[in-house]
């Protein structure tokens, strides 16, 4: 079982796919999160991502390890960007490789949902007339 955990300034989706390829896996499932151009009708210009890097990597590794055990994966990849990203750019890459598709689908869902709860990364949305930290207020 191999895992790949990275914080990057530019996300290479093709390289993410290559990190998952292995002979025993008949299913590779990939989720890519990208910058959406609006939030509740308000145009978004860009997003800025900040991380607590050492802890973010540690949490991403923990999530990949749990996914490996729970879904019997052969490969798991979690990459996330830091810095400024424009509309439509990829910001998170989640991938799972398993013998069959069901485990690969479910593992991806688990990894992105848990990342969104527990990995110390924050995004700030920049609008034409201001900026807000996402999820900061209840």
């Amino acid at each position: 079982m191999q895992t790949s955990i990275q914080l990057v300034t530019t996300l290479d989706v093709a390289a993410g796919y290559r990190s998952l390829v292995c002979p025993g896996s008949g299913a590779i499932n990939v989720f890519v999160g990208t910058v959406r151009d609006a939030t509740q009708g308000r145009p978004v210009v860009r997003l800025e991502f900040e991380a607590y890097p050492s802890m973010a990597r540690r949490e991403m590794q923990r999530i990949a390890n749990v996914a490996r055990t729970e879904y019997a994966l052969q490969r798991a990849t979690i990459w996330h960007v830091v810095g400024s990203k424009g509309v439509a750019e990829p910001v998170v890459f989640i991938g799972a490789a398993a013998p069959h598709r069901d485990a690969a689908f479910r593992a991806c869902r688990y990894m992105i949902d848990t990342l969104k709860q527990d990995v110390p990364i924050w995004k700030k949305e920049y609008f034409t007339d201001g900026a807000v930290w996402v999820n900061a207020h209840p």
Partner: protein
């Protein structure tokens, strides 16, 4: 003649996202009365010092890169961080 001992115990805190805006810096030094404190007391201390922390979504405390429970102990020398609601992905 020796210098008098420095009063209080200093704790270095990392601060991110909106918490960094509230504490006006990514690294904050806190002065505690005791060399150790619980996470619960540390959070109360932080809210007293930075009242705007009470207006954001519940923040967590990480100790040495791991989420801490309310009853966990923090001591000077630990790497402690304020973790406001995360929003990666």
């Amino acid at each position: 003649m020796n210098n008098p001992p420095i009063r209080g115990h200093h704790l270095k805190l990392l601060s991110f996202g909106i918490a960094c805006d509230i504490t006006s810096g990514s690294e904050v030094t806190l002065t505690l009365n005791e060399p150790t404190t619980t996470v619960r007391d540390l959070k109360a201390h932080l809210v007293a010092q930075y009242p705007r922390l009470a207006t954001i979504g519940a923040f967590r405390i990480a100790v040495n890169e791991t989420f801490a429970r309310e009853d966990d102990w923090v001591q000077t020398g630990d790497e402690v961080a304020i973790i406001p609601p995360v929003s990666g992905g």
